[in-house]
């Protein structure tokens, strides 16, 4: 007689039993990961008071001085425009240091030196030698910085004119050592994956980083991030061997007790755009994920004082790889459960991750509406459709990047691929000299 749960009374198939346990365990893990991710995406909405804490308050009169470092490599069209814009920032005391290669990439160097002549604030710093990467450039510039606060600005980003005034106020109000201002990818209309990418940044800078800052463990972004110069010097600047130097320095300084304040205000975000091709996106992700893995492996986070912080740290650093798995494994778990005719409760349980993903999709649609209202870029029906249909394919993309990053990490391959941007018409992806 078949029981109501679909398993035969006459002995159990061992394979089905083992599969059932595995599926249940994997499904449970997937549900936990997916729910946790969704909860963090919505951190800003947790209570009205967290929402209040995310944005900017009226700035006070400026008190600090700023040194803005702009690492430049292969920036042909964009650099001058960016530097002029930076020069026009509304703040009484700041300087701009452009970092260029001293022994190759003549074009950019020439451009930077032109700018130095044209704009008072701008100075050029030269980096020499093999294995150039962003952290090396930043460290080189750091020695020349004179301001109280050192900020990192990417050459292709559009910085809001009042940003420094607000950042200044944040430093003063909170006494923080680091202020991270929001970066936002804007071109969600370009393709189905650029839409997902933009929303990703929105979640990251509007919610997740605030959550991390509140728990004094933060993996910083690499753009429009501002440090107290004293703190930077105290900890010898950036790690030149790490592919995600921004994440790494955030971890290292957090462990040392530095406090961070995160600021996300639509009128103040630094506007960027998505990588120009899927391949470029994946390469960018590979670099970040590998950088996260390096930071994880480096182990400084283990020195965090409380267990909760260590758990958060370890999970955050391993998370990109873990999360990419969710989108792939969730449908897989269902298919396997049904194909192997596991007991009905297990099969039912295997649907849970997918249900969480559906709920997440509904929330993302809501966020897309909020985003388009916030930035006055109305989203049409086809964008919502692209969002819904693109959820799992995007996770697949990230999974590919995660696997690739893992492989590269295990092979010890730490070469630096710079991401190409469509602001120019040339697509150059340079690999650092061996």
């Amino acid at each position: 007689m078949e029981g109501a749960f679909g398993c035969r009374d006459e002995g159990r198939d061992v394979v089905t039993a083992v599969a059932a346990v595995l599926i249940a365990a994997v499904s449970a893990a997937l549900v936990v990961v997916a729910v946790h991710a969704l909860a963090l995406q919505l951190y800003a909405q947790w209570t009205p008071s967290t929402l209040d804490g995310v944005g900017a308050r009226t700035p006070r009169p400026p008190q600090r001085s700023f040194s803005l470092i702009v690492p430049a490599r292969d920036e042909l069209g964009v650099l001058m425009h960016t530097l002029r814009r930076l020069d026009a920032l509304d703040h009484p005391s700041f300087e701009v240091l452009v970092v260029v290669s001293g022994d190759d990439d003549e074009a950019t160097r020439a451009l930077a030196e032109d700018a130095e002549r044209a704009i008072d604030r701008v100075r050029v710093v030269h980096v020499f030698g093999p294995g150039k990467n962003k952290p090396k450039a930043l460290n080189a510039a750091l020695t020349y910085c004179a301001g109280d606060v050192v900020g990192v600005i990417d050459a292709e980003s559009l910085v809001a004119p009042e940003l420094l005034a607000y950042v200044d106020s944040r430093f003063v109000e909170t006494g923080a050592d680091i202020v991270q201002s929001g970066v936002q990818l804007m071109n969600y209309e370009t393709s189905w994956w650029s839409l997902q990418n933009c929303l990703e940044y929105f979640f990251w800078f509007r919610s997740r980083l605030h959550y991390q800052a509140a728990r004094s463990f933060i993996t910083l972004g690499g753009n429009t991030v501002f440090f107290s110069r004293a703190k930077l010097l105290e900890h010898n600047g950036w790690d030149e061997s790490c592919l995600a130097e921004d994440c790494e320095i955030g971890v290292r300084l957090s462990v040392a007790g530095a406090t961070t304040s995160v600021l996300y205000e639509p009128s103040l975000v630094t506007r960027e755009e998505t990588p120009s091709t899927v391949k470029a996106l994946i390469k960018q992700r590979v670099r970040w994920m590998q950088g996260f893995l390096q930071t994880f492996r480096k182990g400084e986070w283990r020195a965090l004082p409380t267990r909760g912080q260590r758990l958060l740290a370890g999970y955050t650093l391993a998370m990109p790889v873990v999360q990419a798995a969710t989108g792939v494994f969730a449908p897989l778990a269902i298919v396997v459960a049904i194909a192997l005719k596991t007991p009905t409760p297990v099969a039912l349980f295997s649907f849970l991750p997918l249900l969480v993903i559906i709920a997440t999709t509904a929330v993302y649609a809501l966020v897309l509406a909020e985003f388009s209202a916030m930035y006055d870029r109305p989203a049409k029906l086809r964008h919502y459709l692209a969002l819904v249909l693109g959820m799992i394919p995007y996770q697949l993309l990230l999974s590919v990047a995660a696997v690739w990053a893992l492989v590269r990490y295990l092979r010890g391959d730490n070469r630096w691929d710079k991401t190409a941007h469509a602001g120019r018409h040339l697509e150059l992806v340079l690999e650092g000299a061996q």
Binding site: G3, A4, T47, T344, V363
Partner: protein, 527 residues
Amino acid sequence: MTALLPVAQPARRDEAPQRHRARRRRVLDPRRLDLALIALVVIVAGVVHAWGMFRYPSMTITDDEGTYVAQAWAVVNWGQLGHYTYWYDHPPLGWIQIAAWGWITDGFHRSANAIQVGREVMLIAKMVAAAAMYVLARRLRVQPVFAAAAVLLFALSPLALHYSRMVFLDNLAVAWLLIAFALAASPHRRLAAHVGAAACFTVAVLTKETALLLLPGLVYQLLQGSDPRTRRYSATLFGSVVLLGGLLYPLFAALKNELLTGPGHVSLQYGVSFQLLNRVGSGNIFSPGSPANGVATSWIELDWVLLALGLIALPLAAIFRRTRPIAVALGLQMALLLRHGYLPDPYVIAMLPFAALVATVPAGLLWGRFHGRRRWLARGPVVATVLVVVGLVLPAQWAPKLDAQLVSDPNASFVQAQDWIKANVPRTDTLLVSDTQWVDLVEAGFAPEKVVWYFKADTDPEVQARLPTAWRDVDYVVFTADMDKIAEDPTADMQTAREARRHGRPVASFGSGNQEITVYRVDKNAA
């Protein structure tokens, strides 16, 4: 840190110079007062509920208690959703919860009879409901005294006590619903609490589908308790959790190929359409003689005070913005009584806690509303009502009934009948019994196929296959007073039981009137 109750922390003062004042302040600490009152009302509710809960009400009033407990027993012992084929009449989460308790505490072995296990779960549900009611009332920002009064009204009403002791799925659903309302009223307007409210509501619906009636009230509470800026997120997550969680039930059916009606198998489609369409209407609640009127009369005979107070206070609850959600919750349920649809006795269960809240919370808000002389214009009526109710009505109405409910033993005949059967009927014989007796007889050694719930002998093809010559295959049939009443309806599905009785003679009889149970031995050779 999550704040359970919306109380402000009192300012701390230096110990030495103001020691006396500080000490007094600590005793009257609002937080402590709340904790003390919650403990008090939960204990009172628990004690009143538990005292005599295995004796009153009688377990043979209806088959439902036995059915739910038997299904729970089947979950624990057979890994099945029921002792007979599960046909989707109700979602199974309710008796799964009873099964969990039975499994954890080995209930079916340690208890004198199986329904006791179910009634223990009802006790837990009552205490949880009491705590949730108090928290909800306090989150509606009414004084602790009024919050406690709401719980006490619910805990001491004879009507509430009668139905909440019985093993009904509604009691479990009500506990989850009250938790959902309390979460939706989160003082810090936490998104996590709103998601929790959705989850608890989904569990309530999967316990008893009629919990859906409370959805408008709950959604109203949620929207009222959310900040305009985060409201969209609360609503979206609430809707997602409820829809996707509720989807698990049809998904479960689909996985077993029992979603849509088809030959040779039960289906969710049939179960749902049966509940919604095939039930005979109970008629107009006001016309004497209709089943609805009978049901309502039996409620009022148990206790009219709580429902009356709720009804009278309903307009006041509608006036205060804060109490409108619970007014909707109660009002909608009361309004649906006017429908001529099917009205089961346990329908009243979900009305009672909300009636208690509606009766007390607006009064409390009125109490604290005005300042100066005008205060007593509002407080006067409240004081007068309390004096009349507590001083005159309750002692006259509740005291005698409660006394009977705590002390009397209408269940004695059932216990005696079971003992007689266990002692006198051979284990190889076939019995037709009400579901109330099923688990105990199986636990006593009768084979599950030999103990037949009489209802299934006329409706379940598998059972009918085991009784090819119908009543002639039966050795004993046991009739409770409830079965007698059902037998009077010629269209009721109990042909086999009726025929068995007609061809049998009574060999044992216990109790009288509504508690009568008679055992008949079937004479197979009779014409």
